[in-house]
Symmetry: C2
Subunit: 460 residues, 2 copies
Amino acid sequence: MQKLEEFIAANRSAFEQDLCDLLRIPSISTDRQYRGEVRKAAEWVADQFRSLDLETEIIETIGQPLVYAETPPVTGKPIALVYGHYDVQPPDPLDEWVSPPFEPTERNGNIYARGATDDKGQMLTHVKSVQSWIQSLGKLPIQVKFLIEGEEEVGSEGLYDYLESAAAVKKLNCDIVVISDTSQFARGRPAITYGLKGIAYFELLLTGPKQDLHSGVFGGAITNPANTLCKMLASLIDEKGRVQIPGFYDDVVPLSDRERAQFSDLPFSERSFMEQVGVDGVTGEAGYSTLERRWARPTFDINGMTSGYQGEGAKTVLPARASAKFSFRLVPKQDPTKVAEALREKLNELCPPGIVVELQEMHHAPGLVIPLDSPYMDAAARAIEKGFGHSPVFIREGGSIPIVNTFADKLHVDTLLLGWGLDDDNTHSPNEKFSLADYHRGIKASARLWQELSRIEPSA
Amino acid sequence: MQKLEEFIAANRSAFEQDLCDLLRIPSISTDRQYRGEVRKAAEWVADQFRSLDLETEIIETIGQPLVYAETPPVTGKPIALVYGHYDVQPPDPLDEWVSPPFEPTERNGNIYARGATDDKGQMLTHVKSVQSWIQSLGKLPIQVKFLIEGEEEVGSEGLYDYLESAAAVKKLNCDIVVISDTSQFARGRPAITYGLKGIAYFELLLTGPKQDLHSGVFGGAITNPANTLCKMLASLIDEKGRVQIPGFYDDVVPLSDRERAQFSDLPFSERSFMEQVGVDGVTGEAGYSTLERRWARPTFDINGMTSGYQGEGAKTVLPARASAKFSFRLVPKQDPTKVAEALREKLNELCPPGIVVELQEMHHAPGLVIPLDSPYMDAAARAIEKGFGHSPVFIREGGSIPIVNTFADKLHVDTLLLGWGLDDDNTHSPNEKFSLADYHRGIKASARLWQELSRIEPSA
């Protein structure tokens, strides 16, 4: 192991250069005009594997390409499948970035760029740990497979379609999935995430008159789509922060007393949370702490809204259309399809005369909880302790990683969610960053993980 | 009068060319980058007067320039002041225009361009009628003054400031104001508008976290500005379409039985109104007909709204900010300042922890009603009958012409609102148009108006 550790230590600078190379590619999957850049990022990742002489394949899908690679099989040892993504969120609002989003820049020990933490930097720790094993010790103690996709930020359509095939299920056969696309609990408190929220994301378009009208001449006489949008969205959540869709809470698993106690034992400061976010108060579902709301209660958030005149000054217009993007974060057992159906029915009921309502389901996934008592969880905890110098805490997350559900369904395996990021990494926001120290600790923890996993006897 | 009529008939084509010349200038007052074009429109209007040897002046203001001109005084006769504006609304959404907004195009007897009816075309009828008198008969039977401004669409700040000076009040001394910036009741039913709504226009900005955040990681834990905006705006109007600001209806003058009867006698078809607008139903304040709501009841309309991600696809962002432009249309006796104060108080009360609320008052004006029983009203009715071949109907309007209030306050005169436009002229909307037949009828009616007004003995 000393040789491995020395290799990792000696290659810090090269590993950072590689990260910057990948971060320079604006692989924005939600925007069609970046299609070429998304492909470029896929090729870059594939080249990493090819340079290690791994079996490497670019798998074409109905969406963005998948990058697949595998190290040689090791008989009698578990197989780990590393999943990650090389696509990123759009960088806007651009004018809030201190340095350009696709010119990775180091400041205060962090690398700043879109995708630094989500997920290029975190994903790359596993590539670099495999590289380190191969280039220092010649081979790995278990077989590691990689599946790196390019449309995680827009619903992974290509990946899901691919996973429908029997060939895919055979190729991806494994004992455990490893994903680093989550956060530490706090700086120096690495975390294993055992619970994820689901999501149901929608776009609602309300159409009123056939074109924008003079608000003096027509105001009060016809139904205003923007007024209606506010009414409709406001009615989806009550004064206590409870979602007002029939049946929404029916399947919600209540927080256990043990979990509530465990959450409240964590060193969470509401004051520093508010400072981090930049607000002087918080609100949410009544009767639950901030951590409980973030991790284990379903939520409703508007993600974007647009209607009428948005330029400088005043325009007395009655807008023809109003639209919003919004999403529900779901907890385990809530069914996104049931939520979508009940929502559609409710919106249709709320729709007043003179308005046409169109509801588009963008993407959805159920939430899930991963069992804590397994040898894989123990192996991961030991690897993290060696990589970070601290034992991990076990937490839940407000975010969604829908693919974890799919791996459970299709491959019948659990997933280890090993978070190297930090809560203030500005994921999906301007000035996204990743700590270089955490990047290197992540590489070390990942390298140790392959060793720890090799001690487990895989089930048949 | 025959010479005058012949001149008007002989110059149809030249008058249309002049209209097109003015419509080609994109004098968009709300957008700073069009400042030069606004100035160009002012010069164009001034050149019209200069070419008739009128006393002409471009009056600089703290805002856009005013164009002033006057014909020679006529002793013992009333003085008429024509007010109009050479600025226009922005043309967006651009892709809904059949022909470009600043390339005037004739189709089906209409001229299509931004400003065609509001107010370049209507304003120009009075310039052309004065030109016709001068060039056919040598002089006018009364003194006509012109005051044409360049920021009507954004609140007329420069004009209001100018009207504060004693010199302005002296220069603009007159017996009656004439404005054509309203509509006929229907095609071939010219109208004199005797009631106008007031307006109170606001921009509301809600700020939450210091930047956009991941809606999974932070959703439900902090207050979402977009959710809050919907809640706040939705709470400003109830299920019956009643504005929910304390004291809002206190000063509203109820519709008289006579007015309600008169409105319901007008040949208004709700079905064709809905067809014109392109909706299959209408809503509004309960207990009032569509015409009553449009003309004589206060309203609340959102004019624009913006927040978070508005691009293609889905972005799971919790927006840092949400904002809306909205306006109340007010009826006579409602005080916009009182409305603004009560609104500000209400919004501050509604503001939840974690949100900073900023309310900007954009512009406001009270509503008003002009007395029907005056010799000026009678003169206008006769002139319209001669110009259009039909006696006018007397109507009210949902739009605001705040300057009418100011003329009453500062110059102590009433205003004749002579509408040559049509309800389907797409004012403030794509494909704004003005009927060329109405343009020429408006010129004839205006030419007759100077004659009819000359029969009135002005009060001392």
